[in-house]
Symmetry: C2
DNA sequence: ACCTGACATCGACGGTCGTCGATGTCCTAC
DNA sequence: GTAGGACATCGACGACCGTCGATGTCAGGT
């Protein structure tokens, strides 16, 4: 509706000097706020890593829906401190829950948090 | 159901030396391959940035579904080369299309590519 | 032809990230 | 209590990323 806004008007090149004075005059102002964007980006950064994506999908593919570090370490082929670091990032992002059972640490998905990630893109 | 699988068996510490020999014996092997995970992570890295999220949502919020750099630069409050860099990242990820119309460069969403991102999390 | 304006490209700088070995903590078994 | 195994934490190092000013390119207007 009202498509005549598509062509830029290019008015007021110097007038009203105090404001931003967007060159095309449309004044894009919709979309996410800075706070919303940073919150979503923080969640996405936790997931934008091939190792962490493999950890999440491996835990999901488990029969019991959980896995411990000793299972995940040989899967990704990295050192144990590195795997522990990635799991910590996922826990701090709310995507995994850690449960210490005996000497082992078991990790389980948080489906609601996964839905939050998918909801960013509708 | 069947909770005795929770306790690891810890067998074959040295037997079958060629294979991975997971300590807990479950042998997590489902989930994404390394190539699949890297492809998804590359796409997610393009989106895991607050500035780029704001650029995408601002373009989506436009009436015409497109915007030029001169509209987006004052929105995010960064320098023009920085905004141009972020837009290039989004174009190279397939999330945006660039069309040079007159002296301006117009950017439009690629909805199918957005769906690819959402599909990573089902 | 010249200038101006819109945008891209080019180093360069500082900060963050992924990875590792070394070390610490906690639990269990003997 | 002592030993060993599972996991977390701690620097440290190299690589990548976001940001900028400076510069280049191209289209339009005078």
């Amino acid at each position: 509706m009202t498509e005549e806004v598509a062509v830029p008007v290019r008015e007021l090149p110097l007038a009203t000097a105090t404001t931003a004075a967007a060159c095309c005059g449309i004044g894009v102002e919709g979309g996410l706020t800075r706070e919303q964007a940073e919150a979503s980006a923080t969640l996405l950064k936790a997931v934008a890593d091939p190792v962490r994506l493999r950890l999440l999908s491996a835990i999901r593919a488990t029969d019991a829906g959980e896995a411990c570090v000793c299972d995940l370490t040989p899967l990704v082929g990295l050192s144990q401190p590195t795997v522990s670091h990635h799991l910590k990032v996922l826990v701090e992002a709310g995507l995994l829950e850690r449960e210490k059972r005996g000497p082992w640490a078991w990790f389980r998905l948080v489906p609601a948090r996964l839905d939050d990630v998918a909801a960013i893109f509708r």
